[in-house]
């Protein structure tokens, strides 16, 4: 790079280094080298611009002379990445009384006046830093008048105490210095750092010959791209302003015409079809040459088309997939590159219906975007109403203060959820994300009256049960009535991209699936198995919930066994179904880990219902519920602790799993179930459970006269289990890290309670990210690495994995690859994200997150 000049003529080199001249200089040079009609332009290198900011000017006169006599030029910023911002483009530099006179000849008085007048204003405001209000009333329309131009010049002179500078060299110098200094200002620096720019990010500048769209022939300026932003399909999109300049066509209030004829009004296609055809040709050349679909800023100067600037075309996440796949199929980029073009997190939006970006959205409350996607339905205020609604085959949206397990059956049939309370990790949010249900939580501005069955918005709007609303879980808003949506499409480009992702993905991806429908969806995404089946989630359906509660409420072992005997066939049926759907792929079943409080009846009605089912006085049910209430349920009698204190529960589950293994194996591929023990903190816990599992296995084998094997593993979710992984791995086939709970315990922070301060914490930078979303590499990550090392040392064959929400987080997946985990497991709706993130990590061959994902 050292032999590149401080000021480079663009187009000579196809590949101008971005690090030295910025991304725009690179792109314009590439376009010129492709033979596209980009006006003559020079790039000032970043060191040159740095020098300008400190007062060391390059030879402006020599530069201007390159453009010929009386040239008019524009100055554009060229930062390292477009997202980092930079000062706005300065047009018409070089205009003075002399060039103005010349332009009057060429363009006529009015157009020449407008240009000069506008330049005087722009220069005054952006370079001389005069107050914009001083020029109030000098609109473009007015500027056509010679008096207006005179007024603008007079204002300048009055304010600056000197006449408007006539020397183009002087003008250019002022403009360059002003733009260089704007970049080094504090606000600009903070803003671009917030967008990911490094501390020492520099700015390049581009000086370009002006193409003036105000000539008497076909003249004007516009913006065009040849893909639809919402889908990425081929289409003509853009606006054009005859007799316009720069981005005039895009200005608010500007009556511009469209490029294509599919919209009302005149269009460039009707007035100059040749131009559009030419632009289309340019776009195709640029697409292949720049390896991306671009959006052009163009100007027509007396019938001649100039491309002044170009940037990646606007695109929705869905369009990004389409564009990337098309580019790869056309050979413009490799498949690897295509995979890097899509932000994994954005795939979520493809999996769910989304609000149409063009739709009118009568938003009545804003909350947290807890689970993506949009849904429309009638308001219901209870699980029972939701079920009734479902019975009538009416779509419904469940509205609650917050949700509890009793609401889960309602959530299963609702189309969306809106809660007044709760954070990103509240019960509603977790269940909704697990089920791919659009969900908005923490909509604290609504008032709920369950007695009257009304919801009142902050603006006084009152909704009653049965009213239609739409929730947008992608953006965290709720709207009244039905709102137009874009339906998900998992075929076509999406399916192709997924195929490629699976091809490059070098870590196993499994799904967390508790139900047959979860499992089917996971299988449709081509997973390697089920990494986490939470058996307690199989009990949230109405009939089972009551039996489950009878089991929990049983006073002694006999009563408990009676309830367990009724649960056994249900569980066995569940497992047979799962095994059959997964057709021989591994299924990891986690033994019962009930947050007991989630199964306790909370309302008076639920207590009554249970009392009836158990034939007990309500007072006794209430007392027992109180008995079972824990101070810190998260740290209470959960998981293996329950399994050890009441071993008959795990016995029942083991029997259900083994009997299902026998049944499912008769119908198809032999099943090797994986049984996972939750919330372990000591090796002896595993020994005790394993002994009983083995005993049940032998019993079932004897009864069925069939031989089968199973694999036993440990869910590592307490810091102590992580520390003792060596001991645990020695007797386990696998260790699966439950990073949700591990994060809670490592931080001493409950997901359920963190909502009250997490956003403040992230805003203050106390935590760089919510550790429940992105794996905390410094703390939890260290425990994982340490556990991995100890586990592998004790048992080189032990299978290591992560299950939980982090399993679907791109950054965390990169970490898991780097740590050498065998697989990650995440909710079915995050499986595509996991595949893409893992593939990207593999393609990069590193774990670095800094690579520009859009422009290669």
């Amino acid at each position: 790079m050292s032999d590149l000049p401080p000021i480079l003529r663009l187009g000579k080199n196809a590949d101008v280094p971005v690090a030295l001249y910025g991304a725009r200089a690179n792109r314009l040079s590439k376009l010129r080298s492709l033979g596209l009609p980009v006006p003559l332009a020079f790039g000032l290198s970043i060191p040159t611009v740095n020098a300008i900011a400190t007062g060391q000017m390059p030879d402006k006169k020599a530069l201007l002379e390159q453009f010929g006599k009386r040239a008019i030029v524009s100055v554009r910023s060229s930062p390292g990445q477009r997202a980092w911002g930079g000062p706005g483009t300065m047009l018409n530099v070089g205009l003075n009384d002399e060039t103005h006179a010349q332009l009057r000849h060429r363009l006529g008085d009015a157009a020449a006046n407008v240009l000069y007048c506008r330049f005087v204003q722009d220069f005054s405001v952006h370079v001389a830093k005069l107050d914009a209000e001083a020029f109030d009333g000098l609109s473009d329309a007015a500027c056509g008048q010679p008096e207006s131009l005179a007024a603008a010049l007079a204002i300048y002179q009055a304010e600056m105490d000197e006449p408007f500078p006539q020397d183009p060299v002087l003008q250019l110098g002022h403009v360059l210095r002003s733009m260089a200094r704007a970049w080094s200002g504090t606000t600009a620096r903070i803003l671009r750092q917030a967008r990911g720019a490094p501390v020492d990010a520099g700015l390049g500048l581009i000086v370009q010959r002006m193409a003036i769209g105000l000539g008497s022939g076909e003249s004007g300026a516009g913006v065009v791209q040849f893909v639809k932003p919402s889908t990425g399909e081929s289409a003509v999109r853009g606006r054009y302003l005859p007799k316009g300049q720069g981005l005039d066509a895009m200005r608010a209030g500007q009556v511009a015409s469209y490029i294509a004829t599919d919209k009302r009004g005149t269009s460039l296609e009707t007035t100059s079809p040749k131009t559009v055809a030419e632009l289309r040709k340019f776009a195709e050349i640029a697409r292949m040459g720049c390896h991306d679909v671009l959006r052009f800023e163009f100007t027509i100067e007396d019938g001649k088309t100039w491309l002044l600037d170009a940037a990646p075309a606007n695109r929705s996440p869905r369009a990004a997939v389409q564009i990337a796949v098309d580019l790869a199929l056309d050979g413009a980029i490799s498949r690897k590159s295509a995979l890097l073009r899509v932000e994994p997190q954005n795939l979520q939006q493809l999996l769910h219906p989304q609000i149409d970006p063009d739709a009118k959205a009568p938003i009545f409350v804003r909350g947290l975007a807890a689970s993506p996607g949009a849904a429309t339905g009638r308001i219901v205020f209870s699980a029972m109403a939701a079920q009734a609604s479902a019975a009538r085959e009416e779509a419904c949206i469940m509205v609650r203060q917050e949700t509890s397990p009793e609401d889960i059956r309602g959530m299963h049939v609702a189309k969306g959820v809106l809660t007044q309370r709760g954070g990103m990790n509240s019960h509603a949010a977790l269940i909704a994300r697990g089920h791919g249900l659009p969900c908005v939580v923490g909509a604290s501005d609504i008032t709920l009256n369950f007695k009257e069955k009304t919801m009142t918005a902050a603006d006084g709007q009152v909704f009653i049960e049965g009213d239609i609303i739409t929730v947008d879980g992608t953006n965290g808003v709720a709207m009244s009535g039905e709102v137009a949506m874009v339906r998900p499409d998992l075929t076509g480009a999406f399916a192709t991209l997924m195929d490629w992702a699976r091809e490059f993905c070098d870590i196993g991806i499994r799904a967390n699936a508790d139900t047959a429908s979860d499992a089917r969806m996971a299988r449709s995404f081509g997973v390697d198995g089920i990494g986490l089946c939470r058996t307690e989630h199989m009990f949230f359906e109405e009939d089972r919930l009551t039996v489950m509660r009878e089991m929990i409420f049983a006073d002694d072992e006999a009563d408990r066994r009676a309830a367990l005997d009724r649960l056994l066939p249900m569980q066995r049926g569940d497992f047979v179904e799962l095994f059959e759907i997964m057709q021989g792929l591994p299924v990891t079943i986690r033994l019962f880990d009930p947050p007991l409080h989630e199964f306790l009846p909370h309302s008076r009605e639920a207590m009554q219902e249970l009392a009836e089912a158990m034939d007990l006085p309500v007072s006794q049910v209430t007392a027992r519920a109180e008995d079972l209430t824990e101070f810190n349920p998260m740290l209470g009698m959960r998981g293996v602790r329950l399994g050890i204190l009441m071993p008959e529960i795990y016995d029942m589950q083991a029997r259900a799993i083994f009997e299902a293994t026998v049944l499912a194996s008769q119908n198809g591929a032999p099943v090797v179930p994986e049984i996972m023990i939750p919330l372990v903190s000591a090796a002896r816990e595993v020994e005790l459970v394993k002994a009983r599992l083995d005993a049940v296995a032998r019993e079932v084998q004897r009864e069925a006269g069939v031989d089968f094997t199973y694999r036993m593993g440990v869910m590592v979710e307490t810091p102590r289990a992580a520390l003792r992984s060596g001991e645990l791995a020695a007797n386990s086939a696998f260790l699966s890290f439950g990073t949700n709970d591990l994060t809670q315990m490592t931080y001493g922070l409950s997901r359920d309670d963190a909502g009250r301060f997490m956003s403040t914490y992230v805003n203050l930078g106390v935590f760089p990210e919510d550790p429940f979303h992105t794996l905390d590499l410094e703390g939890v990550g260290e425990l994982l690495l340490l556990a991995t090392e100890r586990g592998r040392a004790a048992n080189p064959d032990v299978v290591l994995s992560v299950c939980g929400e982090h399993g679907g987080d791109p950054t965390s997946i990169g970490f898991c690859r780097a740590a050498g985990f065998d697989y990650v497991s995440c909710s079915p709706f995050r499986v595509p994200i996991a595949y893409l993130a893992a593939a990207q990590s593999a393609v990069r061959g590193t774990n670095k997150q800094t690579e520009d994902l859009v422009v290669t």
Copy 2:
């Protein structure tokens, strides 16, 4: 040891190796070598006994011949430690028709019959393994008759189908094999391992000439020691049975006489003062020679006193202190040895009144021994009644279902606490231990009726408010009425032992003290400072609790500040008092770490009270309480999280601390307060708080015109803080490990909820110990070591310590010494334990826990 024979004549060597012949052989040999009248005895080595168990007999004939013709001998077990048990002593081996005839001449018919008859029975039951019931009716009294002896011999012959063995060599062989095999039985092995014996612990045996206390002259057998078991003071204690043998005098139902005349009935002192004087002389010789006070088993054979056996004298914990100190003062042992003679845990019993072991105790319920000591008082069922009782200067015992913070003011004035629910780590147990208040929790067999103000015991006994009861928190029982007690005495031997402990203790000991009375007590034990002052505990007094709640309930910062302004002078006063009491010693003040739920009003009345105080509708108070309720308070908005979200709280506390520093420094030594930040999980939390602390410090310095310094440190109680200790230590003066919470989070186990299964877990061996009592070295301990290493690496000057219950646990203290911590901090009542444990650890120069603490 290899040149020591399989069978050793005791008394030739003063120091017979315990590892080869067992502890008893060692002691008897020592006593013989001191010239004391121990009958001729031989020790069989452990390898010899092992061989016997597998059928390889030594030369029994040669052995018997050492005792002369027609000798009668006893066989005693000699395990490595007395506590490990071992088969019972076999007396009268060698008795047969021939020796029986001889004895009839010497002792008369009746005595000879008794001895032979008894031997036949003992041999039948313990060696030949006949059913003891076969000999029903053959009591000692009956055995005097010749028919009885004949019957016994006949029974043996009938059952065994052979006559009673007449050959003494054969008899001895059977006895030796029987005892050797008893030792290797499964039950015996499990029992001794439970008492701490190693897996391969062996048994030695002793064959000793019988001294027969049934002669016609002064004859009999007894047990004697010359210290009072309850206090260790000099006194004669023991029982004696004229014409008795072995431990006859101690048998249940046996009408024996006492040794000393201070008891009713005849005594040895009256019948044979010479014997008692002789025994006393022997005891003194043994005390100096064996370096301990012994209890003798003795026999008088026709006026001649024989010492058959000896063991450390019975002693209460208090007596152990007295005995050890006296031994050291008399030069029998070193001070170091004296320190090792007392079990640190047992010191607790010296610090509190204890139920007199001789008192009758009408126990009406058993529960958990939650906090040691005993107290008598009138039953009160509420904090208010407790305060009323205190106002009347009546001692009271608070009886509750379980306690909450509202009860703390009641607990402050009560003499003891009894709760129906809760475990060793319940609120009641923790508060009681912290305050040295006798407490029994989990007394689930009582029924409470707060409306009627009654408590009903399982046996139907009904107590009403005002009834007098006694709680014994040392043994976990409650008794009706007043029960005699032994008062604590912290002067004398205890004070001496403490002086020595402090002399050898090489780690700092501080106290956790929240109040002036805590601080005074700590100072009386000579602590190095206060290691943990929990400021939230300063708010449990009635008037403050309400202000505190106003602060917590404040809706906005303004209201909160108003409440804080009222709290400021209270806090400042607290700190001034603490600083003055501690006279320049360091005081570590932990900033507010409220378990918010503990401050929430729970009852309807409390809600009403608060509503009145805050001039708010009850409904609003209830709603706010609901708002503040957390799913997992332990993992919620606690500690520094609250400090960051509502910085005005820490601002107030910092101001109170700094203003108190200025005030207290004027009156005495300059104070350098230590401020500790709780529940840290990220370094940035510390930075944010530190910045504000510094600002407040500057403000106070400016206002007061005085300069002062302070030290800021971090309470490491989340696993993440432990992992990030390097980062934390870099900017901290100290790190103090809060092992209570660290244990909770490392295990994922709430102290409050663990009670439901901890005992089962420990019984099943899932956890070797309750990790809240004894530091979990494998998990939590590893985190501590890792944190220590990282902390010291980042900041070699950082002061490291442990605060919390483990700070007072002997095993944990050994660990802290080994880990190089600067100090441990524990509740004032555990300070003496900490000093002694640390001194022992230092004296041993190692961390091994296996050393025999009683016999050197």
